[in-house]
């Protein structure tokens, strides 16, 4: 009894960290730039295929791919920002949503052409091994993926909190005009922020690919998960995203141990609706309605 409880607790926390990095970039771009990047999960899916291709073609370990994905996807993100986001940033929110929605459909259909709709898994040397900690057997991929996730979350937290650039980004999130008046180059920082958001999506994709099976058309489910976490945790704060991710992970594993699998999703979605009714913009984040 105690063992299964501990197992659920560990497993939930491990999954929660992976969920948290899936939502990290979405939370930051939403909170700081006010852009709802619906193409976020498409980049997560690309990250998974990135790791798969590197492993199958060049034999590169996914752990290494996790770090390679960061600069590679940063370039993707900066490019997407330059080509698409800059043009719709000052337009209505609807227009930006439509453009990014188009990007999501584009990435998904191109990926389907490249990799078909078959479900894939990444088989690294440690994929099927297990680790026994305090009498509990845990899959080693889960531990590796969540360690990587924690590392990334820590790096983002440190960056946003202690570096001058991070502070400037937060200032921009609080008041764009005021930040500009203080001499902050908002255009450049926005590109950096969007790039970092996509970089974290790519890295999250690698971690997710290590733990879960994936296919181009299932990316949209990750958008649902990421959005769920952003709504629960509020936007723009790394630590809140982690807390919300852990909450969802734990809720999922606990629910799975008592309910049939299908109902777990239903429970989460119903929970989401309740949160939306009770707290308009997340449990942790403050309501940000202008009037």
């Amino acid at each position: 009894m105690l063992n299964s409880l501990l197992y659920t607790l560990f497993e939930g926390s491990l999954l929660g960290m992976v969920y948290a990095i899936a939502a990290l970039g979405l939370s930051l771009t939403m909170g700081i730039m006010g852009i709802v990047n619906v193409a976020h999960s498409a980049f997560i899916m690309l990250g998974s295929f990135f790791a798969l291709e590197l492993l199958e073609r060049l034999g590169i370990d996914p752990i290494f791919s996790f770090f390679v994905a960061l600069p590679a996807f940063f370039i993707f993100g900066a490019l997407a920002y330059r080509v698409i986001v800059t043009r719709v940033e000052r337009a209505s929110q609807t227009q930006g949503l439509v453009a990014l929605f188009g990007l999501m459909v584009l990435i998904e259909s191109l990926s389907t052409m490249a990799w078909t709709t078959n479900t894939r898994v990444i088989t690294a040397p440690y994929t099927n091994s297990h680790v026994v900690i305090a009498g509990i057997t845990l899959a080693s991929v889960n531990i590796i993926a969540s360690a990587l996730a924690l590392l990334l979350l820590g790096a983002f937290w440190w960056f946003m909190r202690y570096t001058l650039t991070g502070r400037a980004i937060r200032a921009m999130g609080q008041d764009r005009t005021a930040a500009r008046t203080l001499g902050i180059d908002v255009g450049k920082l926005s590109m950096l922020m969007f790039g970092l958001g996509i970089a974290s999506a790519g890295a999250a994709g690698v971690a997710i690919g290590m733990v879960f099976p994936f296919a181009p058309q299932t990316q949209i489910e990750w958008l649902a998960w990421a959005f769920l976490i952003v709504i629960l945790g509020g936007m723009g704060k790394v630590e809140n995203t982690l807390i919300a991710g852990l909450f969802v992970g734990l809720l999922q594993t606990f629910a799975t141990s008592i309910l049939p699998f299908d109902y777990v999703y239903l429970l989460l979605y119903v929970g989401l609706a309740i949160v939306l009714v009770v707290r308009r913009e997340g449990l942790i984040g403050a309501a940000r309605r202008t009037i």
Binding site: V98, V105, M113, I220, Y269
Partner: protein, 335 residues
């Protein structure tokens, strides 16, 4: 003083558009009655169905600026309503279709109450998420028969009559929906929605009951979509959760509305046939993923450069032409 010059040409072109649409409609009625090409009649039936869905989306999405990425939820609820009525009570879907609309509208209200208090982007993503939840629920509940799906019995008519029946049913629905959206566009309700899209806080200050108006618009869209779904069930004769709640349908609706031009009753009339007929044509030459990719590029370009879609482009050209004509007239007058 350019506005003085525009006033009458704009009104005239609006009337001209209405007559053009009526003429095309009459031509389609004649075509449906005499055509022997069942393939094309079938495709046009699907076009009309999508016109209904896209017009319904247009009410809240186009005028109100609240994008619904999960129209298929209402569609699927409608389809399952008529199918289950047939399954358990043997009532023809044609009779229970209004109930399908009502069921979808109730659903729309349930979804709308929590989500429409939020600003646009939340609504967009949450509607998409809800599609999954409903799909999972339909898979899990015993009375919807899960992945097995529900069968309906075919109509006892010859194939041509069946195709013609659905052609005219969807055509009629498309006409009714288009008239309704035309009415909304030129009513206080429509202007309130536009005010919400342009600046929701300002709209609230000048006394627009923003939340209630969004709820009504969403419920109305759900009702219309549910009716289309109810008839769809009888058309395909077999529905199951994966294909009935397919995200593809939601995506198509948004693509069609954006390409045709949201916030105009004419947009869906252009968008739905354009996307479907071009897709049909491309499918012969290249795969369906490729045409999805092409349409998504078009959507990105439209969002970046012509937010009002094809119809907006046409209107822009007209406006420029009218301006040029007015300038020429002014020049001629001064000489």
């Amino acid at each position: 003083m350019p506005s003085l010059f525009f006033l009458s040409p704009a009104k005239r072109s609006r009337q001209r558009d209405v007559w053009a649409v009526v003429a095309i409609g009459l031509a389609l009625v004649v075509y449906g009655a005499i055509s022997e090409d069942l393939g094309l009649v079938n495709t046009l039936g699907t076009v009309f169905m999508y016109v209904v869905l896209t017009q319904a989306w247009n009410i809240l999405g186009g005028y109100g600026g609240y994008l619904n990425f999960g129209m298929v939820t209402y569609f699927g609820v409608g389809a399952y309503t008529t199918a289950l009525f047939y399954q358990y009570f043997q009532v023809s879907p044609f009779l229970t279709t209004p109930l399908a609309g009502v069921a979808a509208a109730i659903f729309g209200i349930l979804i709308g109450i929590p989500t429409l208090r939020l600003r646009g982007a939340y609504f967009a993503v949450v509607t998409m998420i809800i599609t999954f939840a409903v799909q999972i629920a339909v898979l899990a509940f015993p009375f919807t028969q899960g992945a097995m799906g529900v069968y309906l019995s075919p109509l006892s008519l010859d194939p041509r009559a069946v195709e013609q029946l659905f052609y005219f049913v969807f055509f009629g629905l498309a006409v009714v929906t288009t008239i309704l959206v035309y009415g909304i566009e030129h009513s206080n309700f429509g202007w309130a929605l536009v005010a919400i899209r342009e600046d929701e806080d300002a709209a609230e200050i000048i006394g627009v009951r923003t939340t209630e108006i969004k709820w009504i618009a969403n419920a109305l869209a759900a009702f219309l979509t549910g009716i289309a779904g109810g008839i769809y069930a009888e058309r395909v004769l077999y529905i199951e959760p994966t294909s009935t709640f397919a995200l593809d349908i939601s995506l198509n609706v948004v693509l069609m509305a954006v390409i045709g031009g949201a916030a105009s009753w004419k947009g869906p009339l252009i968008g739905a046939p354009l996307v479907l007929l071009v897709a049909q044509f491309l499918r012969v030459t290249i795969t369906s993923e490729a045409n999805r990719a092409i349409f998504s590029v078009i959507v990105i370009l439209i969002a970046l450069y012509v937010p009002a879609g094809v119809i907006g482009m046409i209107e822009e050209i007209r406006r420029r032409r009218a301006l040029r004509r007015a300038k020429l007239a002014a020049l001629a007058g001064s000489e």
